[in-house]
């Protein structure tokens, strides 16, 4: 493989060098500078790091602005507090329960809450948190009310008491390391790419078979579990639980740590937690002015570090090294081979939007191995048809099926899993990711998803689209034609049985267009049914065996390209009647 060079371990080491150095620095600080106070702050930072690492799942990876993380923290603290202080249960029992209960609660509310969008989701989660706070304050018999519960047992592991100071610090940071590694495993590689696609390009995610809802719910539940663990440690380390554990300020601190540290980054979570726990302490000398200084410092960090401190460290490190990252080694893999397709049947499809009929009783059939071109003036309903076929819209009437599998009850990602692939009118690529990763996500919904392997296969798909040279370049920096071809490569990589392309030739150079045509003919030869929506009639008539022309939502002509292009209605739709010219 041409792109292969450095073995992956070396890259790992190079990119992680500043972080390893940072961890060593922190350890040195703790070892030599840390008095009990210093150790206590670091322990507290560890607890918050765990909270924020959890928050990165829902906020960083799933991209949902949850304001419930503080409530999960409080819930964890109260589970430990109530079971520990009132029933005398030990850490070995209360800790797992403090993780499980918030997670179970998250699972319970996930379904209704996660379907809400942005600010509604934020406020719904905040509402739940506020209800929890009101409960903690007013359910005195259970929670001890505003005074809280005293005498929460310390951490005791298998009979050994983990005392505050060094032992607790090591224990907490051990859990941070464990939680960090687990989070890393759950979000690295293919899984991270899947989250990123769901977050940044939900349409593309569905089109490769990714179930955004389940991913978001998983992230929410994981966040809750981490939040509960952090809350439990908070309760154990303080020995008391009071409603302040539910206070909105915990949520604000968590959010601030995530953003200041670096959204979606585990290193960012740790950096944010360590900094924001220490910052007010460093400024204590200013007495009642210290929080003003804290606010000013926070404002500066937000303005000066757009990707958080983790991003700043990475950028500085990269600049210091002066080189771009070495390309990872890719295992070679077989050429994408197609093993047949399926017939698409569209029957009597009708769809209107607010009284305007976009599609009217459309009939369409694409046989395996056939390329059908769909043409029509702007607004004639072409993209609406593509969106209906791929499940983004629900038809008002009519049916769609692939061979004998009906689409009606299915959601977009389920339709994609039947073997339907598509491209979009404006390429749905993650701008900040490389082309190869944008293509590799095609394998995210498969059972054995593995990024290096997927990249290897993605490189093949890119090669077929003539893009292997640009595989590692950022998608946003590519010309429109390259982006379109990359999206076609992503669709092709999925080995679809039916493929629909929405204006694939727009913005392509002649060479690129030839590549595209070759690629699509290859697919058809392998038995794939292909539907191409395009404005470029020369391109389409050379490619498709049949053309279908839509106007105002109705099929006005269908047949061989020659017949359709000569059809008077089609000519009128495009050129207008000759006698109309002056």
């Amino acid at each position: 493989m041409s792109a292969a060079s450095a073995p992956p371990e070396r890259i790992l080491r190079a990119a992680h060098a500043p972080w390893l150095a940072g961890a060593a620095l922190l350890a040195l600080y703790a070892a030599f500078m840390g008095d009990i106070y210093g150790l206590r702050l670091l322990t507290q930072a560890g607890i918050y790091a765990l909270l924020v690492i959890g928050y990165q799942f829902v906020f960083g990876h799933a991209g949902a602005f949850s304001l419930a993380q503080g409530a999960f923290f409080g819930l964890g603290a109260y589970v430990t507090g109530i079971l520990g202080a009132k029933l005398g249960w030990g850490f070995m029992t209360t800790f797992p329960l403090s993780i499980l209960l918030p997670a179970a609660f998250a699972l319970l509310v996930a379904a209704p809450v996660l379907r809400l969008e942005t600010h509604y989701f934020a406020l719904a989660t905040l509402g739940l948190a506020q209800v929890a706070l009101i409960g903690a304050v007013n359910w005195e018999s259970l929670t001890g009310g505003a005074n809280g519960l005293v005498g929460v047992p310390r951490v005791v592991l298998f009979g050994a008491r983990i005392a505050p100071g060094w032992p607790l610090l090591l224990f907490v940071w051990g859990l941070v390391a464990l939680g960090g590694v687990l989070a890393w495993r759950l979000t690295r590689g293919m899984k991270g790419l899947a989250y990123r696609t769901v977050r940044e390009r939900p349409l593309a995610a569905a089109s490769v078979g990714l179930d955004g809802g389940t991913l978001r719910a998983t992230a929410f539940v994981l966040s809750a579990a981490y939040g509960g663990a952090a809350g439990a440690l908070h309760a154990n380390s303080l020995g008391v639980v009071s409603p302040e554990a539910f206070d909105f300020s915990i949520m604000v601190a968590c959010l601030t740590m995530a953003v200041v540290g670096g959204r979606g980054r585990i290193a960012g979570a740790i950096l944010g937690a360590v900094l924001l726990v220490h910052l007010p302490e460093w400024l204590r000398g200013l007495e009642q002015y210290y929080l003003i200084a804290y606010g000013a410092a926070l404002l500066l960090v937000v303005i000066l570090a757009p990707d958080g401190l983790a991003g700043l460290v990475d950028r500085t490190w990269r600049r210091a090294r002066g080189t771009t990252e070495t390309l990872p080694f890719l295992p070679s893999s077989a050429v994408v081979a197609f093993t047949g397709g399926a017939a698409l049947h569209v029957e009597c499809l009708t769809k209107s939007f607010g009284g305007v009929t976009a599609l009217d009783s459309v009939e369409l059939r694409v046989a395996p191995g056939e390329i059908v071109g769909l043409i029509g003036p702007n607004g004639s309903g072409k993209s609406t048809l593509a969106n209906l076929i791929t499940g983004l819209y629900r038809p008002d009437q009519g049916h769609i099926r692939l061979d004998n599998a009906p689409f009606e009850p299915l959601r977009p990602h389920e339709i994609a899993r039947l073997g339907v692939a598509r491209t979009f009118q404006t390429a749905e690529l993650i701008g900040g990711a490389s082309l190869i990763d944008n293509v590799a996500v095609a394998y995210a919904a498969t059972a054995d998803a593995n990024l290096p392997h997927a990249r290897g296969r993605a490189l093949n798909a890119l090669a077929q689209a003539g893009l292997s040279d640009r595989a590692w370049e950022e998608a946003a920096a590519q010309p429109a034609g390259v982006r379109r071809l990359a999206e076609v490569a992503r669709a092709v990589a999925r080995k679809p049985r039916f493929l629909v392309l929405d204006e694939p030739s727009a913005g392509l150079t002649d060479d690129e267009r030839a590549t595209l045509a070759r690629l699509l003919r290859g697919l058809a030869a392998g038995g794939v049914a292909v539907l191409v929506i395009d404005h470029n009639l020369p391109f389409l008539s050379g490619l498709a065996g049949r053309l279908v022309c839509l106007e105002a939502g109705r099929v006005i002509a269908a047949g061989t390209p020659d017949a359709v292009l000569a059809h008077p209605d089609v000519r009128r739709a495009y050129l207008g009647a000759a006698e109309d010219t002056p």
């Binding site: 304050v137 005074n147 005293v150 008391v240 009071s242």
Partner: protein, 370 residues
């Protein structure tokens, strides 16, 4: 691994327990109180009281101090305490009025053997067998008795409407008031907890009126107390409020006429005068802080003075200071302080009432714990 942990723990303990011989000149009494957040008002009085005592250097003793904000959470208070204890020669700590913060700090104080000088009213803090907590403000168990007795015995009211805050202060007071009224044979005909953010008191007043009480008993913070008194003016019911009402900053929110017939419990009322020493204190406080002193300031002043007095008499370290606090007695501005064995130093409460002509209340009744 376990051995490493244990070794580290041992090392830490050794490091922190090296006995440091302190001279009277370099002892430290850190002031750890909430000067921001929801209890900033009370915490600021506390700070002022402590700072005043420390700056006065009675009998020439210079005790170093710095003021650290404990804000609103137990966590911050624990951080502040650990930070303070990382300095040498800490003989005592002026510690937060906020109950949950005290509860979180107490185990650390006990472990490090440093006495905490507080004015937190939360009864529980002296009920936990912790030998390092000393409270210079009468506990809820004392002042709530006074408040309830004044209502029943002096005002002869038996149908009580109780409105309290859903905070540590409010809920702790509510529990004691409920017990005391029951013991005294009065009936609580209406009871409701209010969040400190409540602005409109009309709904609670409407329900309260419907219950037809003959007296209103409050356990609210400063702002809500003033709001309540203001909006309850039309009911023409006597109000016996919690200690927040005696604070000059509360009275400042109301017109003197609105205060007529309003009483409050407290540990003392410095602006009401009563003794030359108290008047001198009040004048000095005004001059120093450009503010009116309240009972919290006096109590923290007295407590801090008692520590300084102990040092003046030869106590040189935290253990010795603790012993003096636990066994000695001290004649303070507000009263004579002596531990009851659990760390409660203050046993007297006063009831102050406003006569409607000024914002300075008069002490109408003193209660001593029996």
């Amino acid at each position: 691994m376990n051995r490493v942990l244990r070794a580290a723990a041992v090392a830490t303990t050794l490091l922190s327990s090296i006995p440091l011989a302190a001279s009277a000149e370099n002892v430290r009494i850190p002031v750890l109180v909430p000067i921001t957040g929801i209890l900033a008002l009370e915490g600021t009085s506390q700070r002022n009281g402590a700072v005043m005592a420390l700056d006065e250097k009675p009998s020439g003793i210079e005790a170093g101090y710095d003021v650290t904000d404990t804000a609103a959470s137990p966590e911050t208070a624990v951080n502040a305490l650990e930070r303070a204890l990382s300095q040498p020669n800490v003989v005592a700590v002026a510690a937060s009025i906020f109950g949950p913060q005290m509860l979180a700090m107490m185990p650390i104080a006990a472990e490090r053997k440093v006495p905490l000088i507080t004015i937190s009213g939360t009864a529980k803090i002296t009920e936990m067998g912790n030998a390092y907590v000393f409270r210079f403000f009468p506990t809820d168990a004392v002042v709530k008795v006074a408040q309830a007795r004044y209502v029943v015995e002096e005002l002869k009211k038996t149908r009580v409407a109780l409105v309290y805050q859903t905070t540590a202060y409010g809920q702790s007071g509510q529990a004691h008031l409920t017990d005391n009224f029951k013991r005294l044979g009065a009936q609580i005909v209406f009871e409701e907890g209010l969040a400190p953010t409540v602005k409109d008191m009309a709904p609670v007043l409407a329900k309260l009126k419907a219950a037809n009480p003959d007296v209103i008993v409050l356990q609210l913070h400063s702002g809500p107390t003033a709001l309540f008194v203001k909006q309850a003016a039309g009911l023409n019911l006597p109000i016996v409020a919690g200690s927040a009402m005696h604070q000059p900053s509360t009275a400042a929110l109301l017109e003197p006429a609105e205060l007529k017939g309003v009483c409050a419990e407290s540990g003392s009322s410095p602006i009401s005068g009563g003794s030359p020493t108290m008047e001198k204190f009040t004048a000095a406080y005004r001059a120093k802080f450009n503010a009116e002193p309240d009972a919290f300031a006096v109590a923290q002043y007295d407590g801090t003075r008692m520590v300084l007095d102990a040092i003046g008499k030869g106590a040189r370290n935290a253990a010795q200071v603790r012993d003096v606090l636990a066994t000695g007695s001290y004649e303070g501005l507000a009263m004579t302080y002596k531990s009851d064995g659990t760390g409660n130093m203050a046993h007297d409460a006063v009831i102050v009432c406003y006569d409607g002509s000024s914002r300075v209340p008069k002490i109408v009744k003193r209660y001593a714990a029996r």
